[in-house]
């Protein structure tokens, strides 16, 4: 079920109303969690009922492993063995669904295994693993009840595309009561609206221009490809941040506080900082469970660089079974290493220039991320460097990028709103609270601005979120 679908527009109010009724009337909080498990499985199985079995299996394995680590197995070596077994089982499952088809195609192209990738698998397996890791490290207690854990492992707002929550942060919230709270729900709804705004007003429109240029990459100039890729950087941000924002808003309506996943990444002035503001929960996961165990920055500079490279390569692999993703991860890691190497020189650059460079380096990596395969990426990068055709800057009208005058102006207006919202977010830390605290006329003007701009974009189409495929 897509967040931007009619089904979800019916689903969410029903879920919330019933949830608050249960919270108010039921004697035990377990009933509310049972309801959340029920609706989360319904949400997940709406696309394909078979997916539910996999989610249930992942939940059972991680809960069982956590239980054994907490209450049964106390001997260090056995605990380590159990942890490795759990990781092998869960990562093995993820690897099978993501990589078996790809690897079999390398062996025999015409006999490649046709395996359907269950949507959200990368996200919920990583989230379940945080539970096992945190119990192993003694950072969290095992779940009090299986129902609470199942609700955590299948919580529908984060199920398909994150944020990847740590059990120590989200799991205890399933033990708390969440009652109807007007201020909280209003805040959640503002965030929800902003999420839809990012997706429908900006990402879906940019997608038209980007797709048009990338679909005709052989016939366009290097400049046009660079322009499309810069736009793609903004598109993927708006697309993915929109999903996270809708997830956070949805959870907040129900009374749950999720971790922020994007905090103005395009305002950062270095690649290292950029990745602390982009897909924060995934990068934190890799930092906590790969980078630090590998030694982090504690074993010398060279080892630190190697660790960064390993982490980003794995992050690329996590995104998909394609050489373009792996190379994207490697390049992103290399950019960070190079940046660290020229740090003394960079210190003399003005901040705005560094922000620009950071954006352009990210955009460069997007050539690989957006391309269908490595051959296409090679041609596109080649064209940017050898067939830039500077004159096409003058002849490429922004109104001829498949959007037309009306939609291009609409997009520009949307980008202005995005920048204002992010500037407020950067300064106050919470633009939604800033809006909610304004006087009634200003507040309602903002509400209507969002509503009208979203409605005006409704016909752009219910495109799938880019990160669903991961």
């Amino acid at each position: 079920m897509l967040f931007n679908s009619v089904e979800f527009a019916i689903f969410l109010p029903v879920v919330a109303i019933v949830y608050f009724i249960i919270e108010a009337k039921a004697k035990s909080h377990t009933a509310s969690n049972v309801w959340l498990v029920f609706v989360s499985y319904f949400y997940y199985m709406y696309a394909d009922a078979r997916y539910g079995l996999l989610l249930a299996a992942v939940t059972l394995v991680s809960y069982g492993s956590g239980y054994l680590l907490r209450y049964v197995v106390h001997e260090t070596r056995m605990r380590k063995k159990l942890l490795i077994l759990t990781v092998v089982l869960l990562i093995g499952t993820l690897f099978f669904f993501k990589y078996a088809g790809f690897l079999s195609s390398l062996i025999a192209k015409d006999k490649a295994l046709q395996i359907i990738l269950p949507v959200g698998i990368s996200f919920y397996i990583f989230q379940s693993l945080t539970y096992v890791f945190e119990i192993y490290q003694g950072k969290t207690e095992a779940a009090v009840s299986f129902i609470s854990y199942t609700a955590f492992a299948s919580f529908f707002p984060v199920l398909l595309s994150g944020p990847i929550e740590k059990s120590s942060h989200l799991l205890p919230q399933f033990e708390e009561e969440h009652h109807f709270d007007y201020e909280r729900i209003r805040h959640g709804l503002i965030r929800l609206s902003y999420g839809y705004f990012l997706k429908l007003v900006i990402a879906s429109r940019i997608a038209i221009a980007v797709d048009l240029i990338y679909d005709n990459y052989m016939d366009v100039t290097g400049y046009q490809l660079l322009l499309a890729t810069c736009l793609y950087s903004v598109q993927i941000f708006c697309d993915f941040a929109s999903y996270s924002t809708i997830a956070i808003g949805t959870a907040e309506i129900l009374g749950f506080k999720l971790t922020e996943n994007f905090t103005q990444p395009f305002f950062t002035d270095s690649c290292a900082t950029f990745w602390r503001h982009w897909h924060i929960t995934l990068n934190n996961w890799f930092k906590d469970y790969v980078y630090i165990p590998l030694g982090g920055n504690r074993k010398g500079t060279l080892r630190k660089y190697l660790n960064i490279f390993i982490v980003f390569t794995l992050s690329g692999m996590w995104h998909g079974a394609d050489i373009t993703y792996i190379l994207w991860g490697m390049i992103s890691g290399l950019f960070q290493i190079m940046e660290a190497l020229i740090a003394p020189l960079r210190a003399h650059f003005p901040r705005r220039l560094k922000v620009f460079f950071t954006f352009m380096l990210f955009t460069f990596s997007m050539f690989l991320f957006r391309s269908d395969d490595i051959a296409q990426a090679e041609i596109i990068i080649g064209k940017v460097f050898t067939q830039f055709e500077i004159s096409s800057i003058l002849t490429t009208s922004p109104f001829e990028l498949g959007l037309g005058v009306f939609n291009m102006l609409y997009l520009i207006a949307g980008m202005i709103v995005l920048i204002i919202y992010d500037v407020i977010n950067e300064r106050t830390g919470d633009a939604a609270s800033y809006i909610a605290a304004k006087k009634t006329p200003v507040r309602w003007a903002v509400y209507y601005l969002f509503v009208v701009m979203i409605l005006g974009s409704a016909s752009i189409g219910a495109q799938q979120f880019i990160y669903f495929k991961f």
């Binding site: 696309a47 209003r186 016909s459």
Partner: protein, 329 residues
């Protein structure tokens, strides 16, 4: 104010723009919809209040609509075919017609053979909203039963609700395109021209077309179970109402006739013969041969132009006269 009521009030206030857009989409379809809508509108308006008291009706899809000139065929004839319709939509349109006007004496049923295989306009049917919610539900239930990939595809329920509520996600694009009311005059003119031609409508106006039609892309008669079900239901509906029926085939151009797969034609012919023979039906005649006309008689790759319609109508008229169609009981 009670916070729950406050939230509800705010929600209602914020829904006003949505309600306005839905209401506009609901109230002014002729002002923004494309010309295909006009055919449906004309057909349904004619069903409710007939333009003429037709003794003979032409039932079918766009090929029937563009191939038969009622004025040339016989007096008191009206073409109630609908562009983009398959037997599914036409079954309900005919049922609706009979309900309002009683059964006609005669009917000529003409569908493009590929419409027995491809339900290619179902979204358009939902979009126009001429079928009732009950009818849509009935078709969907059959789609589930037959596992139809179009009617019962994933996400259909949400789409059906979106169309029924006239949500902007489905209607705003055309409203923008037409600047909300920009198609009103054009649609009205088309409506009047269809009326003047007793339901006939030209789809392609070129002086010839050598493009290939949909049928040539089918290597065999890979029919849709749902369409066949409704086709037979349509024939039964006419039979139960004691309507004299001739099933005829619309012409295809020479370019398509040269390459159409024999297996497809054979499968289609076998199916029609099977319908003819499987049970006793009231005065049913089948013309199973697909006529092939010169490319010059086609207005586009699929539909005959007016000249082609004249040729086809005359041939059909001669055939109907030869079987004494008009004077059968």
């Amino acid at each position: 104010m009670n916070p729950k009521l406050k939230l509800l009030r705010n929600f209602i206030l914020l829904s006003i723009p949505l309600v306005i857009l839905c209401a506009l989409a609901f109230a002014l379809p002729m002002s923004y919809m494309t010309v295909e809508y006009v055919m449906w509108d004309e057909e349904f308006e004619n069903s409710a209040s007939p333009y003429i008291d037709a003794e003979t009706v032409i039932i079918g899809d766009s090929r029937a609509k563009s191939s038969v000139l009622p004025a040339l065929l016989h007096e008191d004839t009206y073409n109630i075919a609908i562009g983009g319709a398959t037997p599914i939509e036409m079954y309900y349109a005919t049922e609706n017609y009979i309900e309002h006007n009683g059964a006609p004496k005669n009917a000529v049923v003409i569908f493009a053979p590929y419409h027995f295989c491809d339900i290619d306009n179902w979204d358009q049917t939902l979009y126009f909203n001429f079928l009732s919610a009950d009818e849509i539900a009935e078709i969907y239930a059959k789609g589930i039963e037959t596992n139809d990939p179009v009617i019962a595809r994933k996400g259909r329920i949400g789409e059906m609700v979106s169309y029924r509520l006239r949500l902007p996600s489905k209607y705003l694009a055309q409203m923008y395109e037409s600047k909300f009311t920009g198609r009103k005059a054009e649609n009205r003119e088309k409506f009047d021209s269809i009326r003047a031609d007793l339901g006939y409508c030209e789809f392609g106006s070129a002086d010839g077309d050598d493009g290939e039609t949909h049928e040539v892309f089918h290597e065999y008669f890979d029919s849709s179970e749902e369409v066949l079900y409704y086709y037979e239901k349509l024939i039964d509906l006419l039979s139960d109402n004691e309507v004299n029926v001739v099933v005829a085939q619309p012409p295809i151009n020479q370019a398509s006739g040269d390459v159409i797969h024999k297996e497809f034609v054979d499968g289609y012919t076998d199916y029609l013969n099977n319908v003819m023979n499987q049970k006793r039906r009231y005065n049913l005649k089948m013309l199973t041969e697909i006529p092939v006309y010169p490319n010059e008689l086609f207005g586009d790759s699929i539909h005959v132009n007016r000249k082609g319609a004249e040729v086809y109508t005359k041939e059909l008229r001669d055939y109907l006269e030869s079987i004494d169609f008009w004077y059968r009981k």
